[in-house]
Amino acid sequence: MAVPLTAYLVVAALLFAIGVYAVIAQRSAVMILMGIEVLLNAIGLNLIAFWRFVNPGDYSAQIFAIIIITVGAVEMGIGLAIMLLLYRNRSSVQVDDYAELRG
């Protein structure tokens, strides 16, 4: 393996950072959901990189990665359903339109 583990981890860390930005800075709930998917993606990359370099004999990490992808998919399904409901009720999925509960 010519490319070291650290290189992959750095890519994952940068993905994570971008996800952080998207989750906080995006106004539309769908975009926030995308940001969360980026975060999950960073996790997957981290996992697979560790798997390949630390313990490639045991495929358990790939199961973990599959679980992460599943989590992402299901979150996407439920999240979009929630947003659809919100949109049907209030014609908006901008998160700052939903700030009545506070204090």
Binding site: V23, A25, Y98, A99, E100, R102, G103
Partner: protein
């Protein structure tokens, strides 16, 4: 009587009223109030339960009984539930039971026109049961639970007239302020239990001689317990709730705020006296705390115009005296005074209630001349007042005598102060009595035709019993008291002190009579009483408002200095000009008073507007201000929530760098 029957009987003592409370509460769910014929039965039921408890206690005279069972025992920790009837606890239980019986008897008549009688008596019975459990408690867990229940019942009772805002506020305040102090008790007993792995109180007392606890630990424990005492017995600085609690019905005041609940603090001190003996620092603190409380409250009492508030401050003062006595190392005197005070003070409250009922007001400036229309009430009041003033041979004399003796033995100055306290007691109670019953009526009766008259029925009966007790307890008990209580008798002081104490009360009464005759019901030591009262009420907010408070003294000092100068001028004039100039002297004194009052008025106004104007409970206000500062953090904007979340991740990463090595 076998041991089993004895235990069962002892258990019955607190359980009987508690069960009655439960039954009445259930009945209250179904019975609707307003049925005239059935109005009185709850009272009789409650009376019966209380009387039964008293009867059982009397049946158990002179027996040391203990009931205990393991509540839970896990991982080396044995938490037991225990009741025990030893000398001290038996003595107090009898006291509590008898006063309760008296007060319930009184309430049957007193409350007959009120709505919600069932609720009232259920709460009263709950209180009595909890109080009995409290004094009989043999383990911390029972003690604490009963302690809390007493607080809860008093919360309900003070708030009985829940439709009045003052009542509600007073109830909440009483509960909360006493509960603040309870935390001291909780922490202390938790610590003890954790250390000894048992929750028996006598195990703790027994361990005091052993090295189970270090000296510092003992001091901390003593202070924690003292915190509980201060809260429950309304000692400095947590006095504010007691006068406010007078918003409740009079029997409640009589029961809770004179004889029983507030005495629980003193009881705790007595129960744990060995701890304080083992921790001299704490004992000294107890002494000074009690003394300060007694003096301050007595002074405040002289300025009160509301009869019940006056009695409330008097109670604080008397409790202070008890604490003082214990601080002196004379628990016998304290305990004795606790007993006599319970009797005469509850009698005083009962008569105050009768006055309120009869005359429709408790304001001293509107009362007067009631001796003609309410002769029996006046007589009972007089008897109890004389007892309070320590006039021999009434009950108060015997116990106050002991206190004075103990104080004098400690230091003559302390003796003087305690004599002064008796004097003050005579002064304020005399003022109250004179203003209420002597002279002429200052304001017309509320309704034509229905002038004030002595109450009838159970109220009168209870008052008469109380009066008799107030007169006789001391006399009857005095020979037996040393046998009844587990404390050694203190070395007596000289006869001079005893005589001084006996005379001081009379002097106070006389002075009060003279003063009321000449000046009416004007407050005596103004501005001091009102100032002190305000200050004490402000205590919970002291920390927050120190800065503001620091600006207060200025105008007051100016005014007082100004008035003082006038007085001095008058004095000089009086001394030089003879009798005819004495008028000018009095003018000067009056002017000084006026100036001081002006200053204080300004001060209190500012205090009112700045400190109390916000309404609500002060301490809660202070804390909820902090809450209000925190609330904006909950912005409702989800992007800020996630921002916070990721700030944490960043923070974690930064913190992890600290572990770099």
């Amino acid at each position: 009587m076998t041991a089993g029957i004895q235990s069962a009987l002892l258990l019955m003592v607190p359980i009987l009223p508690l069960a009655t409370a439960g039954g009445l509460a259930l009945a209250g769910l179904f019975a609707r109030s307003g049925d005239g014929r059935l109005r009185r039965w709850p009272g009789w039921v409650a009376l019966a339960s209380s009387a039964f408890s008293l009867g059982i206690l009397l049946l158990l005279w002179g027996r040391e009984i203990e009931v205990s069972g393991e509540w839970l025992g896990v991982s080396g920790l044995a938490v037991t539930v225990a009741l025990e009837s030893t000398e001290l606890t038996y003595f107090l239980a009898v006291l509590v039971a008898s006063i309760s019986t008296l007060v319930i008897l009184y309430s049957i008549k007193y409350m007959e026109t009120e709505a919600g009688v069932i609720r009232f008596f259920a709460e009263l019975a709950l209180f009595v049961g909890a109080m009995l459990a409290l004094v009989l408690a043999g383990s911390w867990i029972v003690l604490f639970s009963a302690w809390e229940f007493v607080g809860l019942a008093s919360f309900l009772l003070i708030g009985f007239w829940y439709r009045e805002a003052a009542s509600r506020r007073a109830a909440q305040r009483a509960f909360l302020m006493t509960r603040v102090a309870d935390m001291g008790l909780l922490l202390a007993w938790l610590h003890v239990t954790m250390r000894l792995h048992t929750s028996r109180i006598d195990a703790f007392l027994g361990s005091l001689g052993t090295p189970a606890f270090t000296e510092a630990e003992l001091l901390i424990l003593a202070l924690l317990f003292l915190l509980a005492v201060v809260g429950k017995s309304a000692q400095l600085p947590l006095t504010a709730w007691l006068p406010a609690a007078m918003a409740g019905p009079t029997p409640v005041s009589a029961l809770i705020h004179s004889a029983t609940m507030v005495a629980a603090g003193v009881f705790l001190l007595l129960r744990l006296f060995p701890l304080y003996e083992a921790s001299p620092w704490a004992l000294t603190l107890v002494l000074w705390l009690g003394l300060a409380g007694a003096v301050v409250a007595a002074i405040v009492a002289t300025g009160q115009n509301d009869l019940k508030r006056l009695l409330a401050w008097s109670t604080i003062s008397q409790l202070g005296e008890m604490v003082f006595a214990i601080g002196l190392g004379a628990p016998l005197a304290g305990a004795y005074h606790l007993a006599t005070h319970s009797v005469f003070k509850s009698t005083l409250f009962l008569t105050a209630g009768a006055v309120d009922h009869g005359a429709g007001t408790r304001d001293l400036s509107q009362l007067g001349g009631l001796r003609r229309s309410m002769p029996l009430t006046a007589a009972v009041f007089g008897l109890a007042a004389l007892a309070l003033a320590g006039v021999p041979p009434l009950s108060g004399f015997w116990s106050e005598d002991l206190i004075v003796a103990a104080a004098a033995a400690k230091h003559p100055a302390l003796g003087l102060v305690s004599v002064g306290l008796v004097l003050l007691a005579g002064l304020y109670i005399g003022r109250a009595g004179v203003a209420t019953f002597l002279g002429t009526r200052r304001s017309p009766p509320p309704q034509e035709g229905a002038g004030p008259k002595d109450p009838g029925g159970s109220m009168m009966l209870a008052m008469l019993l109380g009066g008799a007790a107030a007169a006789l307890t001391g006399l009857l008990l005095h020979p037996a008291v040393e046998g009844l209580l587990p404390f050694a008798k203190e070395s007596g002081a000289g006869a001079a002190w005893r005589i001084a104490a006996g005379i001081a009360g009379l002097v106070g009464l006389l002075a009060a009579w003279l003063l009321v005759r000449s000046k009416g019901t004007a407050s005596l030591f103004e501005p001091l009483p009102r100032l002190l009262e305000r200050a004490l009420e402000a205590v919970p907010e002291l920390g927050m408002r120190t800065a503001e408070a620091s600006s207060f003294p200025l105008p007051r000092f100016e005014a007082a200095l100004d008035g003082g100068a006038q007085a001095a001028r008058g004095l000089v004039l009086a001394l030089t000009g003879g009798a005819q100039r004495s008028e000018a002297f009095l003018d000067g004194v009056a002017l000084a008073g006026v100036r001081a009052v002006e200053g204080v008025t300004e001060l209190t106004e500012r205090t009112e507007s700045r400190v109390f104007g916000r309404g609500g409970d002060r301490a809660a206000e202070l804390l909820s201000l902090a809450g209000a500062r925190l609330r904006p953090a909950q912005t409702g904007r989800v992007y800020l929530y996630t921002l916070g979340l990721f700030l944490w991740t960043f923070g974690t990463a930064v913190v992890s760098l600290l572990f770099w090595r």
